[in-house]
């Protein structure tokens, strides 16, 4: 805490001591206070590792959100302690309730999107992307008439696609509040068109492929690593074939084929639940895929037994 500074009384450079309790810089030779009231910039509070992260006293508000009008400032005028009478009719109370949040609907929408994303287990990047998309679309008044749930679900769907982690429309349906697959599809087309008009060709969303969903479906079913790898290879090879089915149905049929060949056979019902594809659709896709079984199933996984064991439904 010793500093060398020029003391005007001693007229030379002397050792200066910094007194933290009073915030003074004092010359150690003559006792002259050189600077008083220096501002302490160290931390006001101490946080320990074992304390709850609920009320970190270092923080004065929530994280700032650039999508909200004023960055999400959350200061409110609250009722003073020990005052009688009711707060709301007093002048302060009126100021608080009158100045209503301009982003009320936006915040509600963000909360709904966050809810849906949490139910699907999506990361924060996708959630933020969906929020951005919603904000862009919300500015256009033409949204008002449409089904709000479908719009929010579609924002989430588009965000997943843009981050290269697509979710099937049925999966989004399962967490969307009552929106139907068709409505979400229509809302998605609408949003994409609006955004392309707004900002030129920036909607980079490739077509979906069976492989994008395979990993997730397999883990829902609890397949072994070997089976998962075989399924991924099979799906890769199947892309060259001329099979006219939705990629999800193809994924489901490949999973069915692979599990029938391995030790743990999954019933059609489980696969149907995990993928969202109807059982009859899986059967039909399997019928389409069956003739090419030898071509798509990797040799390392199953050999001639596969043709004997695979039933042709």
């Amino acid at each position: 805490m010793a500093d060398g500074s020029f003391c005007p009384d001693c007229k030379r450079s002397t050792e200066v001591v910094f007194d933290h309790s009073a915030g003074d810089m004092v010359c150690s030779e003559c006792g002259l206070v050189l600077e008083a009231h220096s501002i302490d910039e160290t931390s006001e509070w101490r946080t320990f590792a074992n304390e709850s992260a609920e009320n970190d006293p270092v923080r004065v508000g929530g994280p700032s959100n650039p999508l909200l009008t004023d960055g999400g400032l959350s200061t409110v005028i609250s009722k003073p302690n020990g005052v009688q009478g009711d707060f709301l009719s007093s002048s302060l109370g009126r100021w608080q309730t009158r100045g209503s949040n301009p982003d009320r609907s936006l915040i509600l929408a963000f909360r709904t999107i966050a809810n849906m994303a949490d139910r699907l287990g999506l990361v924060a990047t996708i959630k933020d992307r969906a929020n951005e998309i919603y904000k862009k679309v919300e500015d256009l008044k033409s949204i008002r008439g449409r089904n709000q749930d479908a719009i929010l679900a579609a924002c989430l769907y588009i965000a997943c696609r843009q981050e290269d982690r697509p979710r099937t429309v049925k999966e989004i349906c399962s967490v969307a509040n009552g929106a139907a697959k068709k409505e979400i599809g229509r809302a998605k087309e609408y949003i994409v068109k609006q955004l392309e008009v707004e900002m030129g060709q920036s909607m980079e969303m490739g077509t979906i492929h069976a492989g994008d969903f395979l990993r997730r479906f397999c883990s829902h079913l609890g397949m072994s690593n070997q089976a998962v790898k075989a399924a991924q290879e099979a799906v890769q090879k199947s892309e060259e074939l001329d099979i006219r089915r939705s990629p999800i149905s193809i994924a489901a049929a490949v999973i069915y084929m692979i599990t029938q060949l391995s030790e743990e056979k999954k019933p059609l019902r489980d696969i149907s639940l995990a993928t969202g594809v109807a059982e009859s659709t899986i059967r039909n896709s399997y019928k389409d895929l069956y003739p090419y079984a030898s071509r798509i199933i990797p040799a390392s996984f199953a050999k001639e037994e596969d043709l004997k064991n695979l039933c042709s439904p």
Binding site: T168, V169, G185, E189, Q201, G206, T207, I208, D242, R244, S246, P247, I248, P291, A293, S294, I297, A299, K303, E304, D306, L307, S312
Partner: protein, 192 residues
């Protein structure tokens, strides 16, 4: 080459159809102005086969049929007692279907013609191609069937088809030699 057994079908004019493939018109939508006020309730009650579809004539398979139907309708309205005229008959929409007879790789097509195509296999199995000139919407399916709509005349459809044909040929699914789809008795040669 497909045999078209429609009445009034002309022999293929290769100048108009250089690809050698013709289109089958499926639907014509047209409107006409009868020029007088109509009491729709009365018409709906008094005419047989009446459905409230204000002034729109749909379902015809050719432009002539459409005009004929519109005239018949005007006649019916006249019989009921209104002073109907036949003004501004205009065909609003012509729809046609065609078949190129080979499978198409929709995904590649949508990748390369991104600006015009919408392809969402989850939502709809066909690729939606919005052609700018002429302004026609084509639904292209993996089987090779194509539906064209949004035209005001059949010439627009012909032009649109001739424009899309070379594109679609480019994305034909390559034929694999000796493709035997029903081989259930052959032992697979996995370790070849």
């Amino acid at each position: 080459m497909a045999q078209y057994n429609l009445e009034g079908c002309q022999s293929m004019d290769l100048a108009k159809h250089p690809s050698g493939i013709g289109l089958i018109l499926q639907n014509i939508v047209s409107t006409v102005n009868l020029g007088c006020k109509l009491d729709l309730k009365m018409i709906a009650l008094r005419a047989r086969n009446a459905e409230y579809n204000p002034k729109v004539c749909t379902g015809a398979k050719s432009e002539e049929q459409s005009k004929l139907a519109a005239r018949k309708y005007a006649r019916i309205v006249q019989k009921i007692g209104f002073q109907a005229q036949f003004m501004d008959f205009k065909v609003q929409n012509v729809v046609a279907s065609s078949d190129v007879k080979f499978p198409i790789r929709l995904e590649r097509l949508s990748l390369h013609h991104d600006a015009f195509c919408t392809f969402e296999p989850e939502i709809f199995p066909g690729l939606i191609y919005r052609m700018k000139d002429p302004k026609i919407v084509l639904l292209i399916f993996a089987s090779g069937k194509i539906v064209l709509t949004g035209a005001k005349s059949r010439d627009q459809l012909y032009r649109a088809f001739e424009q899309i044909y070379p594109v679609v040929v480019e994305y034909r699914v390559p034929q694999i030699g000796n493709e035997d789809k029903d081989s259930t008795d052959r032992v697979p040669r996995l370790l070849a």
